[in-house]
């Protein structure tokens, strides 16, 4: 039964809790806003869906075990992407080994130890600005600092360190923010039982912040695997028909390889390009999926 006619209703029911005109208008507005925001979210998802769809449709047929595990042939117009795949994994692994410990430690210092004075504020500002530096500038810095000055030559090490510098702000900011979501009351409780700062951090703060820290690492992984410019001058080779043996070797990398076969290799089939792109994005998504799974497992254990 509806009450819109004002005179209806079952006996004994007044219209006390029926919607007024104002309520109806509010509901309409609320619905409209919701639809608008939902639409924006949809717009956000559409490009992702299209990119993935096109890559799967056009690159999918290229993907085979042979494609993934063989070397490029015929001046890179055919064959597989194995060295690039392995190279990207090296780059991601080595750069995470550098950026995660440094970034997490720096974030812990800034959030848990450092006093709030002008110096830490300048440092925080510098970190935010570091995130805004264009990747090509990082590339030139890496070339100067790691390749030439430190004498690593064009190598996985130099390229990974360049990538690490680039992803450091992401790791630091995400870590610091997740540390700050741990309630102060937990820290106070620890201190008041005589725990040192480090004991507090190790036993209480870090376990509760780990899911946020992983978010930072996920973002760092995605950027590391996808960046081309920073590795171009520092360690990624145009064509390097061997698997790297140590961090001092040059290597091929997925992002770089995609760039090369798309722009510099006449005669490379579209299927090859799309297949490479699809593999790269799948690699990133897989790594993300693992961390996201791990993160939600950790979140599930969190009880506050």
């Amino acid at each position: 039964m509806t009450y819109s006619d004002g005179g209806g209703g079952t006996p004994g029911q007044s219209l006390m809790f029926a919607a007024t005109k104002l309520n109806t208008r509010n509901h309409r507005l609320q619905w409209l806003v919701r639809a608008l925001f939902g639409l924006m979210t949809l717009i956000l998802i559409v490009p992702v869906g299209i990119i993935l769809g096109v890559l799967v449709v056009r690159g999918g047929p290229a993907i085979s075990l042979e494609f993934l595990f063989s070397f490029p042939r015929d001046a890179m117009t055919a064959g597989g992407i194995f060295p690039a795949l392995v190279g990207t994994m090296w780059l991601v692994a080595v750069s995470l080994m550098a950026s995660v410990p440094v970034g997490v430690a720096a974030a812990i210092y800034l959030s848990e130890y450092a006093a709030d004075n002008w110096l830490t504020r300048v440092i925080n500002l510098a970190i935010i600005n570091l995130a805004g530096v264009p990747s090509i500038v990082h590339a030139l810095f890496g070339f100067g600092a790691f390749v030439i000055f430190a004498g690593f030559g064009t190598s996985i090490l130099a390229a990974s360190l360049t990538l690490a510098v680039m992803t450091l702000p992401v790791v630091i900011v995400a870590t610091r923010e997740s540390l700050q979501t741990v309630p102060m009351a937990f820290r106070e409780a620890c201190w008041n039982m005589g725990a040192t700062r480090w004991q507090t951090i190790r036993i209480v703060v870090l376990p509760n912040a780990i899911s946020g820290i992983l978010t930072g690492v996920i973002l760092a992984v995605s950027r590391t695997a996808g960046e081309t410019a920073p590795i171009m001058f520092t360690g990624a080779a145009f064509f390097f028909p061997f698997l790297p043996h140590s961090v001092f070797d040059q290597t091929m990398a997925m992002a770089m390889h995609l760039f090369v076969i798309s722009t510099a290799v006449p005669g490379a089939s579209d299927e090859l390009k799309y297949g490479t792109a699809l593999t790269l994005i799948t690699l990133v998504l897989l790594m993300n999926a693992v961390s996201i799974g791990f993160r939600s497992y950790l979140r599930g254990k969190k009880k506050w």
């Binding site: 029911q13 007044s14 006390m16 809790f17 029926a18 919607a19 104002l22 509010n26």
Partner: protein
Amino acid sequence: MVKATPLAIDIHNLSLWYGDFQALFEVDLQVKQGLITALIGPSGCGKSTLLRAVNRINERLGDYVRTTGEIHVLDQDILRNDIELAQLRRHVGMVFQRPNPLPLSVRDNVLFAHRIHRADEKFNRRKEDEIVEHALRRVLLWDEVKDHLGREATGLSLEEQQKLCIARLLPIKPTVILMDEPTSALDPKGTAALEELIWELHGDYTILIVTHNMAQAKRASEETAFMLLGRMVEHGLTEQVFLAPREKETADYIEGRYG
């Protein structure tokens, strides 16, 4: 029981589940208009859940909450689908455990609900001033805050904040005010002041108050309902429940043997 007093809230056979967990078991409760009814019982017995069912604020949790049974507020079945929640919550206000004034000025806090529910009317400064003064006087807060109505409400003392949280309900003329342990964040002086205020409001508003404080239930209510493990054990006049409880569980709880 005096049959003549009309009921403000009539809960019949109410069961409620959070997922698989059943929080309320076939609860019956009649709250008379204009009286203060205290809801007592050990932690986790469903007092707050019952309170939150009355203005359907539980539903913000979505399908996770399942309710069966009937709740009538002023003779109207409020569990029906065509109930306008904005209207229901206007008539059934709520005060929370922790004072939660909005991060606005004292004045804007008092006028918040009023403005939301009267969006059609032109805002009239003089009329708004009257509303603010009237509401703040009613909660015995006017003298403290009249000279700085523009100040942030979050800067008030907890006692003042809690009074403000009651004051902001008054301009929209609620019939029922639900209070979920409204004094547990306050010091003894604040508690006393709030109890005084609750008595002050008694008669004009129906008040259903959840409390862990036995002395408070005894002092500040006319009827008391005792709940245990999601069931309504006993409900009667406060003196009767405290001096001559019908059920053994009630007596045990009141004498502090558990809970």
